[in-house]
Symmetry: C2
Subunit: 313 residues, 2 copies
C-alpha cells in the first residue's frame, strides 16, 4: 500500500445507504483519502452509521442531520453520494455548486438529460466527477485491457456476453429501492440484469484469436487477488478428441481492494484540481455518459417492443 499523503482528500458522505459501508472502508484504506463527515436526514442515523463503521472511521468524523450541512462544511473537499437515483440531480448539482468534487453512486441518473444537468454543474464549478463503478479500477481490468488490445493474442473483437443476476427474497422484492419507481426508477436496468437467479457475474469476450472469461468481473471472488482466463488461437488435437492448448489462467494481485483503488484514483485527480489548479480529468464523466446512453437505449428498446435502437454519441 502506498504511504498516506500529507494532505489527503477530505470526504463527506450524503446518506447512509448500505453500500456506503463499503465505500467508507475504501476511503479508510485509500492512502490519499480521509472521511470527515457523514450526513443523513436524521442525525441519529448518521451517528449510528459512524458507530457501526467504527473500525473504518476516525473518531473525529462529524455527524450531520442534513445533507446541506455536509455541503456547507468548508473542511470537505469531496462528497460521495449513494442516494437513490431519483435524488441525484438535486444533490449532485447542489454539491457541485458548493464546490465539492463528486463521487456519484451508480446508476448516476435516470436518463442522459438528467446526467447532463449534473455534468454541466460540475463543468461550471471546476468539479472532478466520477461515478462509483468499482471493477474498472481493479488492476485486473488493466491487465485484461492490455490483452484485449493485443492483436496477436486476442485479435479483432467479435462478441461480448455478460451476465449479472442474483436471487432475492420477498423482503427485497417488496422493499428494496430498486423496486421503488420513485427511488430507483431504472430498477434492474440500472443495476443487475435480473433478480430471480443464483448470483452469477460472468463476462466472456471473444475475438478472432482469443477468448477471455471471468466469473466475478463486478465483485471479485476474493479481495487480494483476482483471475481471468484467456484462450489464444485455441484448437483441437488431430482427432478432435481434446484441445491442443488450454486457456491460460491470469492472476492479478492487488494491495487495495478495487473500491479503494477507485477512491485512490478519484482522490488523486481531486488533489490535482485542489492543489495544482489542474482542470478536472474528463475521462471519467465521458465514460459515465456513454454508459448512460446505453441504458437509455436499452430502455427505449424495451418501450418499443425490443426494437434495435441506434446509439448516437
Amino acid at each position: 500500500m502506498a504511504a498516506a499523503i500529507d494532505k489527503p482528500i477530505r470526504f463527506g458522505i450524503l446518506g447512509c445507504a448500505d453500500i456506503a459501508r463499503k465505500v467508507t472502508r475504501a476511503i479508510h484504506l485509500a492512502p490519499n483519502a480521509v472521511l470527515c463527515a457523514v450526513g443523513s436526514r436524521s442525525i441519529d442515523k448518521a451517528r449510528r452509521f459512524i458507530a457501526d463503521n467504527a473500525p473504518h472511521i476516525s473518531t473525529e468524523v462529524k455527524a450531520y442531520g442534513s445533507y446541506e450541512e455536509v455541503l456547507d462544511d468548508a473542511g470537505i473537499d469531496a462528497v460521495y453520494v449513494p442516494l437513490p437515483t431519483s435524488l441525484h440531480v438535486r444533490w449532485a448539482v447542489a454539491a457541485a455548486e458548493k464546490g465539492k468534487h463528486l463521487l456519484l453512486e451508480k446508476p448516476t441518473a435516470l436518463c442522459a438529460a438528467d446526467l447532463d444537468v449534473i455534468l454541466a454543474a460540475c463543468e461550471a464549478g471546476g468539479i472532478q466527477f466520477m461515478d462509483s463503478t468499482m471493477w474498472v479500477h481493479h488492476p485486473r481490468t488493466a491487465k485484461m485491457r492490455e490483452l484485449l488490445c493485443d492483436p496477436d493474442r486476442f485479435g479483432q473483437l467479435k462478441s461480448i456476453h455478460s451476465v449479472f443476476t442474483f436471487c432475492v427474497d420477498t423482503d427485497f422484492l417488496q422493499n428494496d429501492i430498486r423496486v421503488k419507481p420513485d427511488l430507483d426508477a431504472l430498477g434492474v436496468l440500472g443495476d443487475e440484469g435480473c433478480f430471480l437467479s443464483n448470483l452469477t457475474i460472468d463476462l466472456t469476450v471473444i475475438g478472432t484469436n482469443g477468448t477471455l472469461r471471468l466469473h466475478d468481473f463486478i465483485i471479485p471472488f476474493e479481495e487480494g487477488s483476482a483471475k481471468f482466463s484467456l484462450g489464444t488461437k485455441s484448437w483441437f488435437n488431430d482427432l478432435v478428441t481434446g484441445w491442443s492448448s488450454l486457456p491460460s489462467e491470469h492472476v492479478v494481485t492487488t494491495d487495495l481492494p478495487q473500491e479503494a483503488c477507485m477512491v485512490n484514483e478519484f482522490s488523486r485527480l481531486v488533489g490535482h484540481v485542489r492543489d495544482s489548479g489542474s482542470a478536472p480529468e474528463k475521462k471519467w464523466p465521458t465514460i459515465t455518459r456513454k454508459t448512460q446512453l446505453v441504458i437509455d437505449a436499452v430502455k427505449a428498446s424495451i418501450d418499443r417492443d425490443y426494437e434495435p435502437v441506434e446509439i448516437v454519441v
Copy 2:
C-alpha cells in the same frame, strides 16, 4: 475399460469423412464394437483410409468401392454414416431397408420432414437409430444432469447460454462441406454457431439456486477427465467486497473417451435388438427429432427476420 464381449457389433462405415477417423478409433476402443468394412465411392480412398487409420483398424477390415457393398455385406450389423447431410435421406433409408442399425452423423437431416423419412424407415425395419452427438454420452453429462435436477443445489432453471465458435481459414471458407449448400445446406446452423471467432465452447446454465458452467462441453479439453463448476446459493460477504462461497469444481474421469462411450451405448442397444429380439430404444431418435425441430425453428426465424417461432413437438 469393460472386457470385450463375445459377439461385438460389427460396423461398416459409409464414406471417409474426416470425423470418421475419430469414430473409427472410438469403435476400436469400445469393448462391444468392431469395424469390419469401410466403403467409399472410390476403393482406393477406402484402402487409404484403412491404411491411414491402421492403429485403430484390424487387418481384416474390408475396403469397398461403393456404399451399396457395405449395406449388402451380411456380416455387418450396423453402419456409421458420416456423409454430407444432403445425402442422409438416401443412404440412411437404404441402410435401414438393408437391416443395418444406424449411427448417423449430425446434423442428421436438412429438416424434420426429411428426418421423419429416415426415422420411419428405421421404425419399419426394427432398426436402432442414434445420432452421433458425442458429448451427451460423457459421464460428465450424467453428473451434470444429476446436479441440474437437484432442487436444493440448482433449483428451477432460469436460463441457458451456450456458445460454439471457431475461427477458420480461407480454405475452409471456400471448400468445407459446411459452406456448400448442396452438401451441408444447414451450414453454421447445423454445426457451429459461427466460423469467425476463436474456438470457444461454453455452456452456462443458471437456476434459482445454482450456476453451472463449463468451457468445453462439446469436446472436453482432455480425454481422461473433464470438469465443470457449480456455484450454489452464491452470495457476497457482508461488505460485498468478495463472495462468501466460491463455485465448486467437479471432475469426472472416464475410461473411454466420449465418442467411445457413444459407440458403446449404441452397440449395447443394437446387441439387445440383434441378440434378444428387443425393440429398438426410442429415447435416442426422440432426442434427435427434438433437436431437428429446434434447428427448423431457428431457420424459420432467420427466414422471418428473426421473429420468434413457436416449436410444436
